[in-house]
Symmetry: C2
Subunit: 212 residues, 2 copies
Amino acid sequence: MQIAILLYDRFTALDAVGPYEILGRLPGAEVVFTGVAAGPVRSDLGSLVLTVERPLAEVTAPDLLLIPGGPGTEALLADRAVLEWLRAADAATSWTTSVCSGSLLLAAAGLLAGRRATSHWAVLDQLAALGAVPCDERVVFDGKYATAAGVSAGIDLALHLAGRIAGDRTAEAIQLVVEYDPRPPYDAGSVATAAPELVASLRASGLVVTGG
Amino acid sequence: MQIAILLYDRFTALDAVGPYEILGRLPGAEVVFTGVAAGPVRSDLGSLVLTVERPLAEVTAPDLLLIPGGPGTEALLADRAVLEWLRAADAATSWTTSVCSGSLLLAAAGLLAGRRATSHWAVLDQLAALGAVPCDERVVFDGKYATAAGVSAGIDLALHLAGRIAGDRTAEAIQLVVEYDPRPPYDAGSVATAAPELVASLRASGLVVTGG
């Protein structure tokens, strides 16, 4: 089973690496990091550099496609070569998936037309203009299309996918290997639980965290 | 604040990238991926390649040191140059931290002598032979030393650190940006909740997930 993860300038690292850590442990999985050109790709925070090992032209028929999000998504929404590659790859997949603002890219390629999908809370409403049906949920499945909310939600998405692909027992084994028994010390991980003024200040800042 | 993350052959990607995604958002943070030599470093699952941007010799006084775990830890436990670098870097830090089997490396360097520490469940008991006091907890603080359990526990560790470094409000803002509101679809993420036969089979396999 070939799993293709798209990398691009200013992607969000955990969007890609969370699902990688889960899906890469599926028996028979071959993960391929792909992008416009082979070589280094820098993530949004600046100091993390992942490597594209095979360019898009060499990844023509993945079984599972995963599109991470990040500030760099925006520049790709009008990139005809990337959108064309997404449509062609999607024609081959059993699963087409995204994390965070990656769903905007799937929608821009026309792959989520009329489908239920989720995204990072700060951009969720943009899905509608791109033809999808925004759902304020952490993980959304609509046929072979599976989308996750922001950043860390990709880990939950990947465990759902692992269960559907290889069965509950295998998914549970992977969960135990990566000791995914989350215990966040705060309860501010969603718009529903965070303080309203925190949500407002982050929206205003473009998600840049400031001191205090 | 300089945050140094050690990379080495066959590290576990999420051990490094989970904390990176949290700590890299702290106001004033400068993250440096370091390792024996500058250049690409391949993670344990084979297809993920991160880049060491500055070699150990150029990272002499980090404020925060984070050591990820992985199968590659074992080879470093007797690497005198790396252990010496750990001791020298630790002399400068405000926080010395690890995820997963990274704590074995801190202990081998003599930094956890008599200190409470945690690690991946499968290697937790090895800490005692290296002079530390093993604690079956997800995140353990002992003075400036903070250790996390396996792989995904690094995200929880990093949020604890964010709160201590920059205050609760900033840590909560980061949690909301990365939408860390975990909803694992299974409850097999710890030895306490997983089926005993699953724990036994993973121990016997060396944590390799098999089908079924």
